[in-house]
Structure formats: structure tokens, C-alpha cells
């Protein structure tokens, strides 16, 4: 009798997987990756979240993907496939942007880094790596530029929080004070030469992301040296749980939630990253039409007024109990100590102060529209 073979999809692991397990992290599957969701040794999600708001936390974000476009027409290619204006980037500068389908909806959101005159690095989401790479390759064929998928080349470590700069400065010769937010530099990090250091992150806090070689030994050494260097700042290892609550407080979109292939740029409220004055990019024509047509739904921030926690996918109801929208992301906000959510609702419900209900286990629980982002980091003096 033939044996029945179990078909288990391959779960991918970052080079730091063994380190996370050794640290006692709780592991979960996220977009096909076996990732730490929280570290009981760090105190769990709330403690990790608040460490990033007030001190420093580090994250393994090696599941994020990387696509490099380099060559004489790299800029033209990036301009064609992304909605922000990459022509405004100086060498060493980065911008938030997105790759769009022709109908103006999202392939993915990305950070575009300009590494050299004709050299761009797109940092993309874990769950969309292959889709993004194939889409980018497909849509840049007519340009004189090489497209490389570098996702597996890097261990990406995020060092986030107001004390992140002091921590990282201890292990690098790069002058970090000179690196502004959304700029990149290169320097020696933990003895490794020419490491890409970006002042970026997904926590609504100051911070850095470094890209080190993806071999396990190097990755583990860098991780532990950073933890060691951060001890005096109270650094903790942080998992995807805190990463999610941190980005939610800052209203940073998550693919598959606030943005997707059925949601367009205007609905998601990402207007300021979409440069319609660019003569051409994929999605532009549809977006011009969508703008003329007006919005049927828009992303709002909600704060629970009555007792209850809105969760992803819960329905939004009006006062009569009619369904008017849905929650894209909802959670307790550990730093703000409120229950918050992002939701799509028709524009007539989008004014700050508007009262709506969130359906929680069959009950309409009162919430109200509040200004976003829920959290904004204090300005440096």
C-alpha cells in the first residue's frame, strides 16, 4: 500500500531562528515564516512595545524582502513601477512608496532606497516577496536595468526606539547623528565592513535597520553583540506582536489589512506618497479616474468608547445596526492604553468625533472616530 505523503508547505526560517528559540521566544507562522511573536524573557508584547516607545528594542525582520534595480535606466524603471517620486531622492535617501496594479490598487507598499546614482533598493513585505519580484521583473523588462532578488542575502535587524541611536553608535563607526530619518549610510557594524544602515522602521519611532550577511553565524553574532551593547539602555528583543501594535499606533499600513489588491491609494489615505504630477506610473490613469469618481470608503482611526476590543475583520455598524464597514486592524494599544482600530467606512462617517459601533460577538459596542496617527513620536528638541 502506498504511503500517504503529508504535504506540508515549507515554513521558512530566518538565520536567527535558532537564536529566537534559544531565547525562549514564542514562535508563530506569519506569511509562511516561522517568526517570534513575543519573548517572555523580554516581558511579552506590552513590555516590548513600551521599551521601543521609551528606550530601545531590536527585531529580526529578515523575512522582509529586497529587490535591487541597477543600471542606466534604473530611475526610469523605479518611476514606472512606484507611485512616489523617486527622482526627488538624493543618493543615500529613502522614501515610502507603493507598487500599484493598473487599477490603482496595491501590489505592495515599499521603501525605496537610493544607494547610488543608478542603484535602487526596494524593501518589500515577507508575504509578497515572490509576487513582488515577478511583478517588478515583468514590468521593468523594457528598461535598461538589472533586477535582482536579494531577499535571501540579508539578515535585517531593526533597532528601534529613542535610544536606538546610542545603542547602534556603540557598534558602528558610521556617524549616525549625521544620518537623518529616511536616509541611509554604510559603515562597519560589529566588525563587518560596508554594512547598509538605514534610519527607517515600522514602529512610528526613531530607529535603524541594518542589513548584514545572512549566514547563521554572522547573524547570531551581530544579534548578540547588539543585545550586549544595548544592555545599558535596557534593550529587549521584540517580536511580531509588538511590531504590529507599534505600527498600528502609528497608523502604518500592513499589507492584507489597510492595503491590498482591492484597496486603492485614495481609500487608504496615502495621497501624500502618491505623486500624480509624475507624467506616468502604473496605476496613475485609474487613480485619476478614481479621484474624479470620489470615494466610497475611507480609512479611519477608531477608539473604543465602551468596553471591548475591535479586532481585524469585525464589522462596523451605524446607529441603526446596519453594516457600514469593517476593521482592518484592531488591538489594545499598549503605550496609549486604549483600544484602537483602523477601519474602512463610507466618507460620511469619517469625521473626527463620529460615533459608530463595532460588532463584537454579536453586540454593537460604541466607538468613535479619532484623529490619526493615534501616536506621534515627540519632536526632538
Amino acid at each position: 500500500m502506498p504511503a500517504v505523503e503529508a504535504i506540508t508547505p515549507t515554513i521558512r526560517k530566518t538565520a536567527l531562528n535558532a537564536v529566537h528559540r534559544q531565547m525562549g521566544a514564542k514562535m508563530v507562522e506569519f506569511n509562511g515564516w516561522d517568526m517570534p511573536v513575543e519573548y517572555p524573557s523580554s516581558g511579552g508584547i506590552m513590555a516590548e512595545h513600551n521599551a521601543v516607545r521609551t528606550g530601545v528594542g531590536i527585531f529580526d525582520v529578515s523575512h522582509m524582502g529586497d529587490i535591487r534595480l541597477a543600471g542606466p535606466e534604473a530611475l526610469a524603471a523605479v518611476q514606472h513601477i512606484s507611485m512616489n517620486d523617486a527622482a526627488r531622492l538624493a543618493v543615500g535617501q529613502a522614501q515610502y512608496s507603493a507598487l500599484l496594479y493598473a487599477q490603482g490598487t496595491f501590489v505592495d507598499d515599499v521603501i525605496v532606497h537610493r544607494l547610488g546614482d543608478d542603484d535602487y533598493l526596494l524593501v518589500i513585505n515577507a508575504g509578497t516577496r515572490e509576487k513582488d519580484f515577478n511583478w517588478v521583473r515583468e514590468n521593468t523588462r523594457s528598461f535598461d536595468c538589472e533586477v535582482e532578488h536579494l531577499s535571501d542575502d540579508f539578515t535585517q535587524i531593526a533597532i528601534q526606539g529613542p535610544k536606538g541611536v546610542y545603542l547602534l553608535q556603540k557598534v558602528t563607526d558610521a556617524n549616525l547623528v549625521a544620518v537623518k530619518f529616511y536616509w541611509v549610510t554604510r559603515g562597519t557594524v560589529c566588525g563587518l565592513k560596508n554594512i547598509l544602515i538605514a534610519r527607517t522602521g515600522y514602529t512610528a519611532e526613531d530607529g535603524f535597520e541594518i542589513y548584514v550577511p545572512a549566514d547563521e553565524r554572522t547573524s547570531a553574532r551581530v544579534w548578540s553583540e547588539i543585545l550586549e551593547a544595548g544592555r545599558e539602555f535596557g534593550v529587549v528583543a521584540c517580536g511580531l506582536g509588538a511590531r504590529n501594535t507599534l505600527r498600528l499606533e502609528g497608523k502604518l499600513p500592513l499589507y492584507g489589512h489597510e492595503i491590498s489588491d482591492t484597496i486603492n491609494v485614495w481609500e487608504a489615505g496615502l495621497d501624500r506618497f502618491c505623486k500624480m504630477e509624475k507624467p506616468e506610473f502604473i496605476g496613475r490613469t485609474a487613480l485619476a479616474q478614481a479621484k474624479a469618481d470620489g470615494l466610497s470608503r475611507t480609512l479611519v482611526g477608531l477608539e473604543m468608547v465602551e468596553r471591548g476590543i475591535a479586532r481585524d475583520g469585525y464589522k462596523i455598524l451605524d446607529d441603526s445596526g446596519a453594516e457600514i464597514g469593517y476593521v482592518t486592524s484592531g488591538s489594545p494599544a499598549p503605550f496609549l492604553k486604549k483600544n484602537i482600530a483602523l477601519a474602512y467606512v463610507p466618507p460620511r462617517f469619517a469625521d473626527v468625533g463620529t460615533s459608530v459601533k463595532v460588532e463584537i460577538r454579536g453586540q454593537g459596542v460604541r466607538a468613535q472616530v479619532v484623529p490619526t496617527p493615534f501616536y506621534r513620536r515627540p519632536k526632538k528638541i
Binding site: I45, G241, R307, P332
Partner: protein
């Protein structure tokens, strides 16, 4: 020993402590550990009939929503009101933090529940440790 021997356990990770026809119910150490930071507990009102194996309420952590299942059938006589404002007490001491007290309809039905040793074995296997 995270699982006291004077309690009985469900595979859904509740504990029940029986004293004659009265019982006290909470969630296990394993449950609080899996959930992480508990931020919200929704419990039935005094007088509510609960049925063995059916949901009786909800417990939520920062990242997860989890149903509470009744280990036995009975009537709620008391609710731990403290948990409305201090649900984190469950994280600190799951075995010592009760959720509801009930009058059991049939104290004999508890035979189907797990002993401390069996429950510990069950969660060790479930946790894949």
C-alpha cells in the same frame, strides 16, 4: 508544580475546583502563558446557566481572543469583578485567580475532566515540548 492536584482540568485549559455542590472556575497557567498579556475578560452574570462544554465567556490578550468553556453544568453564583479592571492578575497567578463560582447541577459529571498529571501531560504534548 503549575497544576495543583486538587483541581480538575479541561482540554480547553480551564480549571475547576469542586467543593461539594459548589465549584470555582478559572483558566490554567498554560492558558495564560499561551495568551500572553491578558487585557480583557468577559464573564457571565450571576444567575446565568452554564453548560459543560459550551462557551461561558471570553478572555483576550493583546494579540488573541479566546473563548472560555464551561468545565461543568451549573448556575453562576459569583463573578470575580476585579478582573474587569485588573485582568493581568490572571497572568500573575492563573491558579489562584478565579473567574466565576457556580452551583453544580450534577457534581458527578466531573469524571470526564483531567487530573493535574493528565493535564500536564496533555499540554506538554500540545506544546510540542
Amino acid at each position: 508544580m503549575p497544576y495543583p492536584t486538587d483541581l480538575k482540568y479541561t482540554k480547553e485549559h480551564e480549571w475547576i475546583k469542586v467543593d461539594g455542590a459548589n465549584a470555582t472556575i478559572g483558566i490554567t497557567h498554560y492558558a495564560q502563558e499561551s495568551l500572553g498579556d491578558i487585557v480583557f475578560v468577559e464573564l457571565p452574570k450571576v444567575g446565568t446557566e452554564i453548560t459543560a462544554g459550551k462557551t461561558l465567556g471570553t478572555v483576550e490578550s493583546v494579540k488573541a481572543v479566546s473563548d472560555l468553556y464551561a468545565p461543568a453544568t451549573g448556575t453562576v453564583t459569583e463573578v470575580n469583578g476585579e478582573l474587569a479592571t485588573a485582568p493581568e492578575k490572571i497572568n500573575k497567578d492563573a491558579n489562584g485567580t478565579w473567574m466565576i463560582k457556580v452551583t453544580l447541577k450534577n457534581p458527578g459529571e466531573l469524571g470526564g475532566l483531567l487530573s493535574a498529571a493528565d493535564y500536564e501531560k496533555f499540554v506538554t504534548e500540545e506544546g510540542g515540548q
